[in-house]
């Protein structure tokens, strides 16, 4: 039966149909929904890991147990999991193992645009790339067989427009994978240098075997023949654009297994056409291989090197101009940006208001609170990668000099702290840093949609689970100064920061309040404005709340949006803002 599915849902479905026993991962757009769909199948154990590296390693253990496993992450997550990813390539698998890398061309919700096809090549693992929803399902399913057949983890490389594409797919029944058990095999699973040197040959052997398979496979690497004049080689989401535009006038080769690239098949195809193009997003990954083979090909010189492709770009690339023209001219109207903002009632708002007003140097991190960098809060001075706030705060504080040292804080969310902040804090302790770390503890991984984490006390299914206590954890690694504060009390926030910044040792301030969106919290009565008292200073507007509008310089409150957090009430010096008493 045909069903409508999200690409990520189809990946989960494919894994389930393949008889997958286990799924792990760490939330990250655009990968998050895969595990959230997988957990709905009762015959699969799905669980969030504290980070991608751990998730990968647990999945590898499941593979050794002889069961099929999948681990999901966004592209930058694979950087975190790179260590086990590269080494597991030498070990190979027992039960099939798939690692999903959801890349984000166009950086819709990421800090970089890395093309993880290059990582699959570097790690010498097999890579599979679906181009639409139906392929998400069957390629995931059959990739488990490839994994077992070629004794390789599989990198299932997706991109935003595949993950978050909704389309039609058929569904099939769940199959029973080959029955396997853990087998002691020191030469394979213990990567001592002497063993690894032997495994190194196996890796090359496996790639040769996989190459032969890819060269011969019409299913994975199909050719749509249509004349000799133009040939186009493509893969992933780019295939859709190419097929739609050129199906009637060119021969098209779609590559489903993109590592190892089926070079003999490609050469044969190249020889069968007069003019050859490669259409791919981001890096000239396929193109470079062709050029190294001495094949004349057009590709990256005809397209932008950054960002996503779309029909217009591909049409310009292949036909020189676009058939779809923009006829509505908006160049003469000013349309304001509408960037995302912290939710009304968010516990981060007051914190960043205080950071700004105190003029602190804030080393930030990845999460909702990164929005603290946006106008009007503008109180974040860096955001690099998961967990970086802590190490960077230590470094900046130590060498910043006047006005910086002693005024530097690291700000990190609780989920990000569990993910990769703990080791940074240990570094601060053992190397006697004096900087202050603020952990924003809202008990969820909020930015990706409110997933549970080690501090939530629930597992993915919503069942009670052990909870890691942040205070105990910080104590255990040797932090002596730990303060737990209420982020809605701006006076308390300010006083605690002043005190801890003065301290001659590491301090941790834990700002504790549940995510209002994730836990559906209603904080208090809505706020009202007394225009008689208002001096139009604009301080309330500069806390950056969607519930606060502006008319003739006076603030207005949207009662449907106001959560009653009282941050605006506290910054209002003339006391023109007050909580509206219920009748």
């Amino acid at each position: 039966m045909k069903k409508l599915m999200l690409g990520n849902e189809a990946v989960a479905r494919g894994a389930w149909e393949a008889g997958v026993a286990f799924g792990s991962g760490y939330p990250g757009t655009p990968s998050t929904e895969i595990l959230e769909y997988l957990v709905k199948y009762d015959d699969v154990l799905a669980q969030w890991a504290p980070n991608e590296k751990v998730g990968y390693e647990v999945a590898m253990g499941v593979s050794l147990a002889g069961k099929r496993a999948i681990v999901t992450m966004k592209h930058v997550g694979l950087n975190v999991a790179a260590d086990p990813f590269f080494s597991s390539s030498y070990m190979g698998v027992n039960g099939g193992l798939i690692c999903v890398s959801a890349d984000d061309p166009g950086m819709h919700s990421s800090q970089d645009e890395q093309d993880n096809r290059l990582l699959a090549k570097a790690a010498k693992v097999l890579m599979v790339e679906p181009s639409d929803v139906e392929e998400c399902r069957w390629m995931t399913k059959e990739a488990f067989t490839l994994s077992e057949e070629f004794d390789s983890p599989i990198l299932l490389r997706l991109t935003t427009r595949v993950c978050h594409q909704t389309g039609v797919t058929i569904t099939e029944e769940r199959l029973t994978p080959p029955l396997k058990r853990f087998v002691k095999d020191i030469a394979k699973y213990v990567l001592l240098p002497s063993n690894a040197r032997e495994r190194r040959h196996r890796v090359e052997e496996r790639l040769r075997k996989a190459l032969k398979f890819g060269n011969e496979s019409d299913k994975w690497n199909p050719v749509f023949k249509n004349g000799k004049k133009i040939g186009i080689i493509t893969s992933g989401v780019a295939f859709g654009y190419v097929y739609e535009l050129m199906n009637n006038e060119a021969s098209i080769m779609k590559i489903g297994i993109t590592n190892p690239l089926p070079v003999d098949r490609i050469r044969k195809f190249a020889e069968s056409v007069e003019k050859l193009y490669v259409v791919e997003e981001l890096e000239p990954y396929i193109e470079d291989t062709l050029k190294a083979m001495g094949i004349k090909v057009l590709g990256s010189e005809l397209r932008p090197h950054t960002g996503e492709l779309n029909l217009s770009i591909v049409e310009r690339m292949l036909k020189g101009s676009e058939s779809t023209k923009v006829t509505v001219d908006l160049s003469d109207v000013k349309i304001n940006h509408r960037p995302p903002t912290l939710c009304p009632g968010c516990s981060h708002r007051g914190m960043f208001t205080v950071f700004r007003d105190m003029g602190l140097k804030v080393m930030g991190d990845i999460g909702c609170y990164t929005l603290g960098a946006i106008n009007p809060l503008k109180s974040m001075d860096s955001c690099m990668c998961m967990g970086a706030s802590i190490g960077m705060a230590e470094g900046l504080d130590r060498f910043g000099g006047e006005g910086v040292s002693g005024k530097t804080i690291g700000v990190i969310g609780d989920s990000t702290f569990f993910h990769s902040g703990i080791t940074g804090l240990i570094d601060m302790v053992i190397n006697k840093s004096k900087a202050t770390i603020v952990i924003l503890d809202n008990r969820l991984t909020a930015m990706t949609g409110g997933q549970v984490h080690p501090g939530t006390g629930l597992n993915m299914k919503g069942e009670e689970a052990p909870k890691v206590d942040l205070v105990d954890l910080c104590k255990a690694i040797g932090v002596k100064r730990i303060k737990v504060i209420n982020p809605y009390n701006l006076e308390e926030v300010k006083e605690t920061l002043e005190e801890e910044l003065k301290a001659e040792e590491v301090s941790v301030i834990i700002a504790k309040a549940p995510c209002v969106l994730g836990f559906k919290v209603k904080l208090g009565d809505v706020v009202e404005v007394n225009v008689e008292l208002c001096t139009r200073c604009g301080k309330c507007i500069r806390v950056g709340c969607m519930a606060i509008g502006e008319k003739d310089g006076y603030p207005t409150i949207d009662e449907n949006l106001c959560n009653g957090c009282g941050v605006c009430v506290q910054v209002c010096e003339p006391k023109a803002l007050t909580f509206k008493k219920k009748n």
Partner: protein
Amino acid sequence: MNIVNIMLSGVGGQGILTSGRILALAALDRGLDVKMSEVHGMSQRGGNVDSHIRIGENVPSSLIPRGGADYLISFEMMEGLRYLDYLKPDGRAIISKLKISPLSSSLKKGGSYPQNIEEIILKKAPYVKMIDADKIAKELGDIRMVNIILLGVLSKSFSLIERSNFENAIKQRFSPKITPLCLKAFERGIENG
């Protein structure tokens, strides 16, 4: 058969993705191919959100090129204006009369909300239907019905998918408890189409 392109736009939290899903389900119910593309994540926090929906016998790709939309359905006036250049020369816009001022307007950064936005939209695009969907939803007693009302408006001039396909999609997507209200909202949309 040509592919029909429908662009949805609005502000995060308005039910745009749900609306797209119902439209896609209706297309599937009609026996057609459909692809939809959307961006999750950052867009959920009050930012602008869009959803591309493409329907036809065979739909290979999922993004609508600028200038290629047969329909634009916007849940908010400024987001309607922002996406107006997605329309084909003979494309139709269905725009909800709601105005949500972005924070940047309150901060006086980048100008305020366009005062005469209705006029601007009508001047820029030839086929525009503006509708106070929020008012109708409030009359129905549930503000969340806006997305269904707008689909009703669309279905009035949308020959590709039958009314019954939309109704089946609504029944599939919602619980039996809320379905009758949704069907009523759809009906009100058609009346106002």
